[in-house]
């Protein structure tokens, strides 16, 4: 076991993937609690598809992928949030529309420029090899920003998640914090997308929160448990991915699913007693 781990850590790409992955898992889990509770889970999915389109575009134009994707996805986050707040347009339909359109445009761009190949598959399902050195630096910076902002605004994020009307009525600018949550989500998704894959990154947001809610009953417990679970699932997933050369994203999701089942079972058992 130890041999395996030291072997793993001797590869730079594994170390990079671990650093970025752990930070992204942490960010995604923190934000996920609010997104799941606010019934915004689909926004994560929508944003990752927009991210895929943006990455394809960046590749075609020979630009740095993260620098293109972050602003594009941030704008998309803003738009999706506005759509969800506006009850006249059905939010879920609009998200589905935007996400499948971006995916389609992304695929078109890729097949026009480089053709559908292993790269495309990596984009969709994640690859452990995805991170370059500059990507790592940018990812670490973004993750630290997300975590610091989340901790600083923790109480406000709780209030806005629990009861937006009350928070608004007592003079807190709830829209500002909704926007903050969406922007932080956008950044997290872009950074984690290439390792986890565009189709699977949203699970990183949804799973830890849902799993924790099976067992824990206060917001703080749920947040802390999600953060820990998310990191554990990621590390186990990436080790699996390395040993059996599974795609990283898929391995992490499967581990998350496993944890979800375990927590659900314990939750049911506790309720029955």
């Amino acid at each position: 076991m130890i041999e395996l781990l030291t072997g793993l850590l001797s590869y730079t790409f594994v170390v990079r993937a671990l650093i970025v992955g752990v930070l992204v898992s942490l960010c995604a889990a923190l934000l996920g609690v609010s997104l799941v509770l606010k019934r915004y889970s689909m926004i994560g999915d929508g944003l990752s598809h927009v991210g895929f389109g943006a990455l394809a575009l960046a590749m075609a134009l020979n630009l740095s992928p993260l620098e293109v994707a972050i602003p594009v996805v941030a704008v998309a986050a803003f738009v999706l949030l506005r759509i969800s707040e506006n009850s006249r347009i059905k939010g879920d339909a609009a998200i589905a529309l935007i996400s499948s359109s971006s995916l389609a445009i992304g695929v078109m761009i890729i097949s026009y420029t480089s053709g559908m190949n292993a790269d495309t598959s990596n984009y969709m399902f994640g690859s452990i090899l995805a991170m370059s050195k500059s990507d790592v630096i940018l990812s670490v910076a973004v993750s630290i920003v997300v975590i610091v902002l989340y901790v600083l605004f923790y109480n406000k994020i709780f209030a806005v998640t629990f009861d937006e009307s009350f928070t608004r009525a007592t003079g807190t600018n709830a829209s500002r914090y909704n926007t903050l949550i969406a922007l932080l989500t956008a950044m997290t998704i872009v950074v984690g997308m290439r390792m986890m894959g565009a189709l699977l990154i949203s699970s990183l947001i949804i799973f830890p929160a849902l799993t924790s809610m099976r067992l824990f009953k206060t917001f703080k417990q749920v947040v802390i448990s999600s953060a820990i679970l998310s990191v554990i699932c990621f590390v186990v997933g990436i080790v699996l991915s390395f040993i059996f050369s599974f795609p990283t994203g898929a391995s992490v999701v499967v581990i998350n699913l496993l944890m979800f089942s375990v927590f659900s079972a314990i939750g049911l058992f506790k309720k029955k007693r």
């Binding site: 509770l37 606010k38 629990f162 009861d163 003079g171 009953k217």
Partner: protein
């Protein structure tokens, strides 16, 4: 002293007027009940008072109270019913407007939250999860949160919907007590006309426009009230 005066307030959505030229005054210490049928504009008026929607016409003047000093008890949302949060976490979130941009709660806010929980006798359940509470206990928790935000005015939007008769009576008693002993002004939107007449000292009957505004005693004499009571009986 007039805490809030509304003059000719008109609020509408999509070109339709949900609230049409409504005027009323809320005096300090009042227990004002807003009654009316579904779709009569009660909830819209509440949103206007809270500053969630801007009135198209007319003015809402606050006197001796800031617009953000309204202790609002909203209708429960679907999200809240299975929300993982402890009672303590919910109550202290009422102190948020005292913090401004400062990130964490200080001793003062923690003491304030503890004090309000004691007042509403929910101290014993402060570690419990909000979603495991009964409807009546949940309303107490939200009331404690509202009191953390302000001690001037409570605005309750259909507070007893979904509560059983015992809890309903209990909540009315509690609000009446806060109104009488602590001098907290109460504004309640209600379907329950009988309790409105029993506890409120003033009635605003809405039918998009003001159908009646005045003291409860005067309201009892109106044909409008008798028709409403007749419909109930």
């Amino acid at each position: 002293m007039k805490l809030i005066s509304c003059e000719g307030v008109t609020i509408g959505y999509d070109g339709q007027r949900a609230v049409n030229k409504v005027s009323f005054d809320l005096e300090q210490g009042d227990y004002l009940c807003i009654v009316g049928e579904n779709g009569s504009g009660k909830s819209t008026l509440v949103k206007g008072l809270l500053g969630l929607i801007k009135p198209q016409e007319g003015s809402i003047t606050f006197n001796g109270i800031a617009p953000n000093e309204i202790g609002y008890l909203p209708q429960q949302t679907v999200i809240q019913r299975d929300f993982p949060a402890s009672v303590g976490e919910v109550v202290i979130s009422g102190c948020l407007n005292r913090r401004g941009l400062l990130p964490f709660y200080s001793r003062a806010e923690k003491d304030r939250a503890a004090d309000k929980m004691k007042q509403l006798s929910i101290t014993e359940i402060q570690k419990k999860s909000y979603r495991d509470l009964s409807g009546g206990q949940q309303q107490r928790v939200l009331l404690a949160r509202a009191l953390c935000a302000t001690e001037k005015l409570l605005l309750l939007d259909e507070p007893v919907s979904g509560l059983d008769p015992v809890m309903t009576a209990d909540l009315y008693q509690l609000v009446a007590e806060l109104n009488q002993t602590r001098g907290i002004t109460v504004l309640m939107v209600s379907h329950d006309l009988e309790s409105a007449l029993e506890y409120g000292n003033k009635i605003l009957h809405m039918k998009t426009e003001t159908a009646f505004f005045g003291s409860t005693a005067d309201y009892l004499k109106t044909e409008l009230c008798q028709r409403m009571m007749g419909a109930k009986l």
